[in-house]
Symmetry: C2
Subunit: 489 residues, 2 copies
Amino acid sequence: MLKNWNRPEKPEAKELKTRLDAAKEKLSQLQMRLKDHKLPVLVLVEGWGAAGKGSAIGQIIKNIDPRFFKVFSMSAPTEEERRKPFLYRYFEKIPETGKFTFLDSGWMDETVKACLHDGLNGEAYASRIDSIKRFERQLTDNGYLVLKFFFHISEKEQECRITALLGTKDTAWRVGKSDIWQNRNYEACKEVFDRYLEDTNSPNAPWYIIDAKSKKHSELQVLETMCTGIETALHNNSLSVPLLQNVFPLVKMPRLKEIPLNKSIDTVKYKKELSYLQKKLGMLHNRLYRKRVPVIIVYEGWDAAGKGGNIKRLTGALDPRGYEVHPIASPEPHEKARHYLWRFWTRLPKDGHIAIFDRSWYGRVMVERLEGFCSENDWQRAFYEMNEFEQELHNWGAVILKFWVQIDKATQLERFTERQNTPSKQWKITDEDWRNREKWDLYEMAVDEMLQKTSTTYAPWHILESTDKKYARIKALRIVIEALEEALN
Amino acid sequence: MLKNWNRPEKPEAKELKTRLDAAKEKLSQLQMRLKDHKLPVLVLVEGWGAAGKGSAIGQIIKNIDPRFFKVFSMSAPTEEERRKPFLYRYFEKIPETGKFTFLDSGWMDETVKACLHDGLNGEAYASRIDSIKRFERQLTDNGYLVLKFFFHISEKEQECRITALLGTKDTAWRVGKSDIWQNRNYEACKEVFDRYLEDTNSPNAPWYIIDAKSKKHSELQVLETMCTGIETALHNNSLSVPLLQNVFPLVKMPRLKEIPLNKSIDTVKYKKELSYLQKKLGMLHNRLYRKRVPVIIVYEGWDAAGKGGNIKRLTGALDPRGYEVHPIASPEPHEKARHYLWRFWTRLPKDGHIAIFDRSWYGRVMVERLEGFCSENDWQRAFYEMNEFEQELHNWGAVILKFWVQIDKATQLERFTERQNTPSKQWKITDEDWRNREKWDLYEMAVDEMLQKTSTTYAPWHILESTDKKYARIKALRIVIEALEEALN
């Protein structure tokens, strides 16, 4: 894209000023429509060192109310961030609906640096590009506007600027070693930039190359592009997004109705097994901590199926410094204002740690679907998106296990009634539980569809028959142990 | 405390088991009362390396529903955390109401290590101890239960355990270099531990020394102490907290009524000054970035007084990579569930950065006071707490500036009316603004009290007369520049 790039003509001073004023005015009006239409805008500003990315952002935001934007200057990932998936720190920073996030360099810069300095190439590079394209597509599919700018200057221009910055103490700190290195290896860098731009120039989030030779002119290019982009996005806001074909390697799952629920274990055997398996799991936990394998365990299931007790038997074996349980209730306002996977991205474990989700992102295709908290297009897309999300985690190296804790309707009634009649358990049962129970058949249909469409080889669903809770606990422990042993060998 | 400590007698095996079972049952019942009474519990587990802190926490939490607790294993602060105040990462982790946070080592461990390895002593040590005592008192005053356990073992016992852990690969990683160092310098460490325990053994958050020789016995001691502590806290829940005398160095402030509002500046002069001052501020921003000075600027003022525009003129001069504006609205549920300063602690800037708060913690003594969102005892205590909070920030090295943007009632009416009549400004005016206006006199009384009680030499209030918004902007810029120059010289 850089090679055959046509430098835009720079308008005369007077025209420049007129257009700049008009674009500023426009952006400042558009911010209110953005807010009304709940459009979130992610602006990625990439480009050459010393190309003026930061100061362009500084100019642009003058036209936006400080309540409506955030600016993040992305430096190299911290030690902590390195222990999470590559996209973690970018996903964490996506804007809320109706707001802007500006990133001063981002996933392009990090990737290009990895190519140039850490030998990222071949399959690893291709997989990184895939991740990035998926990330951007998941955002745009979910109503985000993603604007990507590349600030382009010539080798000579860059050299002049670096020299000027180095000239005074107060600006010298702005010149990083990598800027100087970049200038000395301009052509090689340009090659890598260019390949990256080509590889990630998708229709939903295209690249805009900015001629960054003049400050005012680059400001104008960004402003005008932003305004057009926002207007188009506002216009297309309510359009449905095409569904993608489920291309993930699926594992055949039974229908809930077909699952025999007569399995049980006697108490003596249970106690013996439990103690044996917990000891074993505890040892595995130590090993995966050392080997830095991240583990993600999802629990879904009927109310009163025994999720809590099951999780407890698992965590009972674990060192509390190495795991976290995330109980997932309905999203809080700041969570609802972002991509529905945001609150799960931000809860991902560090490598070597275990995250257990007591309910999860699958709420999208169960409660959110059935209660109408998202559109039909939203939940239909979600099967693909969740498979993609888990594939991302799998590629990162995570072990992913998903449990559906199964009981029948009669057993649920028994347990509800018992909870209602036992004072110490009454807090566990709410009106909502009874209401959900009335929709049992609808939920069963939704769960069946979920199990069929999201049980992948890399993140399979496992049914825990939980009429006898003890049986379900032993089964869960066994499955976890087996999966960890496989991952560790 | 360690020197004259009386080792508790260890019960016989049978009694131990009975009491342990009883304590477990009790804790698991208490968690529900905790939830009902919205009592937050912070459990700090400190002590010797290899004393069994982690595994004790592991046992205790088995009696608590995973939805109601979090465990944090605190390692050395990250690069990012080092750029915030010492207490930042601890404040960040305080529990929500009705929940537990367990810290596996915390501010004691970090302080003791600083004494032993980084030469923390004398005044710096005393100031650290002050910070810690204030932190604990602010938590307990605001309804938190703070339980502090010190796990004590003998030199010989520690040596045995370290040897055992080093024996197998899967546990060897648990032994840090500092554990071995500690064992080799047991007596010196004991001295420092002991001094710290004495210095921070306050009635509101006393230390409990745990005889950690036997696992079961230490579990019992912790469990029984927790149960007693929780019961006492539940009992005292509704008691008022004594008000502390305002001991901070105050600056005399005028009453709002006394402030002449006839100040103005002509447009030509304004433009010239603005451009001159912004340039100057921009340069200072560079310098404070290099010198790593953190800056905190608070804006409070009447609705429509011109806070937003004033902030914009300030940020217009700043590099967006080095500042953040935090617009403060009413707290979200997860914020309301914690100490009212939590959402400000977590928004503190890194050193070298500027944080601008568009409204702030002072909401406690204005809207929260007048709308009854907190108790009288709460807001009365807040004057002291906020002075203390800012002193903490000042000791960290922050420049703190607070602006009250002042207009009279007639000017507000004019601006409200203009907003109402200008389509592009209507979003700025809400019914709430009109309601607040009706309470002008009450607010004026509250603001006067706030200004008198919280304008300290290290964090003074400045009045910005904003009938002429331009005048107020120039004045703000001047004050910020002067304060930064002083801090940088």
